[in-house]
Amino acid sequence: MKTVRIGRWQLFLLTANFTIGTTVFVLLGTLIEAGRQDAWLIPLWGGAFGCALAAFWSSLLNRYPGHNIVGVCRIVLGPKIGSAVALMYVWYCVNVASWVTRNLSDFLKMTIMPHTPMHVIHVMFLLVAGYAVVKGIEPIARLMEIFAPIMFLSFWFVLFVAVSPWEWHHFRPVFGTDLRATFLKTVSFLGFPFMQAMVVTFVWPFAGRKAMLPFVGGIAAAAVSLSAIIAFLLGIMGIYRSSHLTFPLFTLAQEVEVGSVLQHLESIMSMIWLLLIFSQLSVSLFGAFEGLREIFRLRTRKPIVAALILIISALAVTIEENIQTNLEWNQKYTFPYFSFLMIVVPLVLYAVGWIKRRTRGKTA
């Protein structure tokens, strides 16, 4: 079988798109509400944290080349306990996939397709993502490679064309807010999206030895992008409107009117969001599948992915009642939940692995 390989540029794009993913339409309002005129700083410190975490994960995974986090669990903790711990990561990927699917249907139902039942949107999107996962990571990576420049250019085109109502005083007084209080209020932002970005490490076995730089670079690029997007939102729409709208970026694109020619650019925005959702969904679905494959030594792809789609389509319905409950849950529980899986457990793995190597070194 041909070895599947992902290039470094593809890994960079995968990471950046995954990290920006749903943040750009679920969290912007809450970030601006918390940070007010300094909200553009929040992704910068989040990104710094994300890069540090990514470096840590890279060093952990580079000690066991050719394995993802599930493989590392099984090697360090033994096949039985390791598998049990690894199942937590599989559950986590399924969780992320259901969140992502639900965010998509929330957005589509509110803006473009209010009458379509959400199950239809879920199943339809999951089938497409599932098909992509069945074919492997390479098509997904290549898709990102093709679409990323188009997405990037169109997105920033829309934002630049919307600048006419820009007002600098929306940013002032600069650093006038209590930054420490803002940090404490937005601690969940460290979890979603930056700790969530560690799901991309499921593609590590396909990425080759020098995977750390594109990975960390992707997170940094995503953080800078998010900061710039928030800055544009603040400048164009101001604090009041951005924090009161559910999808401020969508409304921003909707109100662009250059001459009487460039109008209704929200269609471009929706397409870009669909692609971002797709990249996030396919990577998390891929992670869930790869985890299961390593734990149970599976030989087939399609049936397992089909069963995962069944679960995720159900979870997408049950996992939140509405956007408000989702945001409240996010505020309270994201940081502890994510940090357990993304900081505590890898630290334990790192420590146990290190101890094991030392004792093995002593007895050898």
Binding site: V123, P303, A306, L310, T318
Partner: protein, 70 residues
Amino acid sequence: MTVSYAVLLVAIVVASGIYLFRKRFWSDFGVFAALVAAGAALWWGVWRERPFNPLLLIGKAIDAIGAIVR
């Protein structure tokens, strides 16, 4: 119309199950059956308007741990 999507999903799952059974990939079949059972249970909850939200459990667990730590 929604029914057709449900039928489609069920058809895909059933076809995969039959495929695994006939090819005798038993370990795969076991995992598949477990996942399908979980999915079916979740959909049953949705159908009966008593959806099961695992995030509530996670929230309760975190609250409990927080209470103990404090």
